[in-house]
Chain length 149, copies 2
Amino acid sequence: MENVRELIQIMTRRFGFLNKNCCSAGGFDISLIQSHILYEIDRQHQPSIQQVAETLGTDITTFSRQIQSLIKMNLVKKTPDVTDRRIYILSLTTEGKFVAAAIDEQMKAYLNDIFSHMNEVERETVIRSIQLLNEAMGKSRLCCMPSQG
Amino acid sequence: MENVRELIQIMTRRFGFLNKNCCSAGGFDISLIQSHILYEIDRQHQPSIQQVAETLGTDITTFSRQIQSLIKMNLVKKTPDVTDRRIYILSLTTEGKFVAAAIDEQMKAYLNDIFSHMNEVERETVIRSIQLLNEAMGKSRLCCMPSQG
DNA sequence: GAAATTACTTGCATTTTACAACTAAATGAG
DNA sequence: CTCATTTAGTTGTAAAATGCAAGTAATTTC
């Protein structure tokens, strides 16, 4: 419990590098933030602009412009919500799905490579531990939320 | 092994938020990157500008300017190396040490809060797992290095 | 049906970023 | 020794990212 911060700092930094490397996957030149946006649009069910911005902890005005450039790149689509016309539903275009899939594949290859340096028991322990950590962070009132906790 | 990417994505994002919240600690208005720089200068033994830049995966020209602003804020000191006068050794000023300590305290409080939602066995398992993960990432040739792998 | 709220967009002005080109010091080859 | 090369670090842009303030338009509330 002494050097936990150091362990976590190093781990998150390395995963950061991992994400960074992934981004030019699929022949597209995608920034780190853009890959996160594609990932979240894909993961969430028909999210609004607001929802994704909050998930990523990005200021809504910044995020609005980020979406604009992804639309220009023809990776993301904005559809007005039927029941509330203030809201825009985000989705991936065919091209966007392709890029997201390419990044996902690349990430999975990296993760497989990392986990190949462990035995089966370790692997399961590590994955279970990450789940535990996520649950614990979810329970914490002090931290781990976008902007203040 | 199915949703590992998702687990890790969520975990790192949350730790990202955690770091972000920490930064205004000590009455100073410190950016996320600046707090990482302070942390690394503190952790490494008399690092050069080059060394810290590489650790953080930041372009050297960008990093040079980041150091300049930290020096202006009187948090960091630049000392010419005695044996090689091209090199500048970085260190924290008294104020810088104070800020770094304040952030560290805050981070530890957050981490304690997170781990308070686990029992002793889980806690040890999780910490051991992060160590395993770090070792595995260190061994991987494919990923987790600054700029390309 | 007017006031307040919500979702999103634009206008700046600031900050961040990185490539190219620079200085200065150290190393290395002949 | 000396001239070419490499290394550490700094600027000059110029482009991109950021966020506050202020705006529009749709919805909710009272």
